[in-house]
């Protein structure tokens, strides 16, 4: 996916001015938040009832589940090299082929090579964010392999001219029903419908033909299981099952960090993932795929390939950012982020939006290529408090801001301003006097109003909002007056 994260400020402006997008965001806002909150409440109530029925006084809680999820993911990351080797050995023993890719180009090269080897002209895909990282669809098309996205949301984006997704689990959250109706009428050549079930059936029928005729299925992987050498896929639509059952070749493309040691660990993470993502108790389909079709099996692929991808992940192993590798891609952080809720996913300009994207994009693609993203947060910690694996997202964003400063990547005016402020702040008497002058200056600028509409010293700051005018004296002045009384 072509990176646009360096143009964040301009893109945000466009998104804020986009009336249709703002209406869509308003509609979606809060839905995921409410559904997650209800699911967490329900889990705690159910666990308490189960404990009471068994006469136990140690009922588990969702909070304890988050601790356990974080611990499992940390355990894997702390020994990632060895877990990768264990997974690889098990996967090979089950009949799969394990390939490695340092970057997106190698992902594309492997996939195209597999397609050539098996004479594939069409590949059906279930949702994979890594294939977005690698720009796989464009590479497949160029190599003469037709990629067909089968997740309803991803399919809509594909027929809309390969639009990028704006959310990692609800990729078309930015589109209205009307837009989808127009697209389907144009693409399918059938009468325009605005009934959501009818549109869904139309897509089902269009995609069914592809499911039954494609030679290769490409999926992501929610988790890789070291104990079994297999992959776990979590879906609601059933397209993941189609993609991994019907074609003769199945290619799994996942990040190297996706391992879980055991099936029991999977059970724990599966209590966290759907509740955090969509507020579901469990997703409709969870599939564990291990090895290839047996000789007498009536279905399943004869060839299974894993492509284990680094693409910047190993650089996150340094201590400051290691926690980010725990991420299970649920989307809760963006669902709860006031910034994401206001600007939508496209403004972030790369594959991953929201708080997790603001950490991942600079680390995967280079800090200097996404300077605004770590700043695009109020550090309110809504994200950190709902993260199922307890990633301290605000702390990571703050560390990225520090990196920008130490690498001298902040604008000269900002650096100069901070230097002046630091110099003043170390001289309390001078600081008090300067603050008093400055407050009066701002009061004069406001000209009797309670706000400043254009602030010449920082015109960008007042481009999108007003600056509240100070209320007369500074705190120190009032404190001194109070004490003198």
């Amino acid at each position: 996916m072509r990176q646009q994260s360096m143009h964040f400020a301009a893109r945000v402006g466009d998104r804020l001015a986009d009336v249709k997008l703002q209406a869509n965001l308003k509609k979606a806002k809060g839905k995921f938040v409410d559904m997650r909150a209800a699911a967490v409440r329900e889990f705690d109530a159910d666990a308490a009832a189960c404990a009471a029925a068994a006469g136990r006084d140690d009922a588990v809680t969702f909070a304890a589940l988050r601790d356990a999820g974080a611990a499992i993911r940390s355990k894997v990351i702390d020994d990632l090299d060895l877990w990768l080797e264990i997974f690889e050995a098990k996967a090979k023993a089950s009949g799969a082929t394990v390939l490695w890719a340092r970057n997106g180009e190698e992902v594309c090269a492997h996939t195209i090579e597999i397609a050539r080897r098996h004479g594939i002209s069409k590949a059906i895909k279930s949702k994979s964010m890594l294939s977005e990282e690698a720009d796989l669809n464009a590479a497949l098309s160029a190599a003469g392999v037709q990629p067909v996205e089968t997740d309803l949301g991803e399919y809509i984006l594909q027929i809309a001219g390969n639009e990028p997704p704006s959310h990692i689990i609800a990729p078309v959250i930015h589109k209205t029903l009307d837009e989808v109706a127009d697209l389907f009428a144009r693409e399918h050549g059938k009468p325009r419908k605005t009934d959501i079930p009818a549109l869904t059936r139309e897509a089902r029928e269009a995609l069914r033909a592809h499911f039954l005729s494609a030679g290769m299925g490409i999926s992501g992987g929610n988790f890789l299981i070291a104990e079994t050498g297999g992959v776990a896929l979590v879906t609601n639509e059933g397209n993941g099952r189609m993609v991994t059952t019907l074609p003769n070749v199945h290619v799994v493309i996942t990040g190297i960090e996706k391992i879980l040691p055991t099936l029991e660990d999977l059970a724990t993470l599966l209590r966290l993932l759907p509740r955090s993502a969509t507020g579901q108790t469990i997703s409709n389909y969870v599939s564990l795929l291990t090895g290839t079709k047996g000789a007498a099996d009536p279905d399943g692929p004869e060839h299974l390939y894993f492509i284990l991808v680094d693409n910047g992940r190993s650089s996150l192993l340094e201590d400051d950012f290691r926690a980010m590798l725990r991420c299970i891609r649920c989307g809760a952080c963006m669902n709860h982020c006031p910034v994401y809720q206001t600007i939508g996913g496209h403004a972030y300009g790369w594959v991953y939006p929201g708080p997790m994207g603001s950490v991942l994009t600079p680390l995967f693609t280079g800090i200097e290529r996404a300077l605004d993203l770590p700043q695009a947060s109020t550090l309110c910690n809504q994200c950190g408090s709902v993260c199922p694996v307890k990633i301290p997202l605000p702390q990571l964003l703050r560390t990225l801001r520090e990196r920008q400063v130490t690498r001298q990547l902040r604008p000269r005016s900002e650096r100069f301003g901070l230097k002046v402020w630091a110099w003043l702040a170390q001289r309390p008497a001078l600081y008090a006097r300067a603050a008093s002058y400055f407050a009066r200056y701002l009061g004069w600028l406001a000209g009797g109003e309670d706000r400043i509409r254009v602030f010449a010293l920082a015109p960008q700051w007042t481009a999108g909002r007003d600056l509240p005018a100070p209320q007369g004296k500074t705190f120190r002045e009032r404190w001194a007056a109070e004490r003198g009384r």
Binding site: A47, L65, L177, T262, L288, G294, P298
Partner: protein
Amino acid sequence: MSEARDDILGRVRGALGRDPATVAARRQALTASLASPNCGPRPQPVGDLVQRFAERSRSMSSTIDTLATTNEVPAAVARYLADGALGSTAVCWPSLAALDWAGAGLEVAARAATGQDLVGITGVFCAIAETGTLMLLSGPETAATTSLLPETHIAVVPAARVVADMEAAFALLRAEHGSLPRAVNFVSGPSRTGDIEQTIVLGAHGPYRVHLLIVSGD
């Protein structure tokens, strides 16, 4: 491209500060830990697991009928299909082929499903009370397509095969099968999507309907 493999693993080792002197022992410890997996925090439902399974399944939009014996299955299927005007033909797993389908006025073929079949009838490996989930294993006699391609999936669930949670299901799987089959599919209700305006629609790519026949006896 084993060069890529060595490169990636090398980078990971470097970043983790892996000591070559202790790596073999550590690998052995991790491998050994797989043999005695720990269960995480879980609600562990007790009491009437079959009732809980039924309640949870309903909340996932499955429908339920309760039967005394497996012999009642064909009549129950015929009733369900007639009520929904869903036709009278189906495919089923070979393990269910011996039931008297013709006697119930149904035409049921014991084979894997194709894109044309409208009704698929399966058994289950087990069922999970915590979430109302079916666990199906792929195999020569248990096609994965039967629960996937048709618009209606009917599953015969012996009450004795209802377990508390996924951990119990995995324990049962290890005890009865040792290793995993090609596909373990956990199914919780009909397929669904919420992609268009976050409005939930049943029947995305998989079945529109999941009907469960819980059999309390043999």
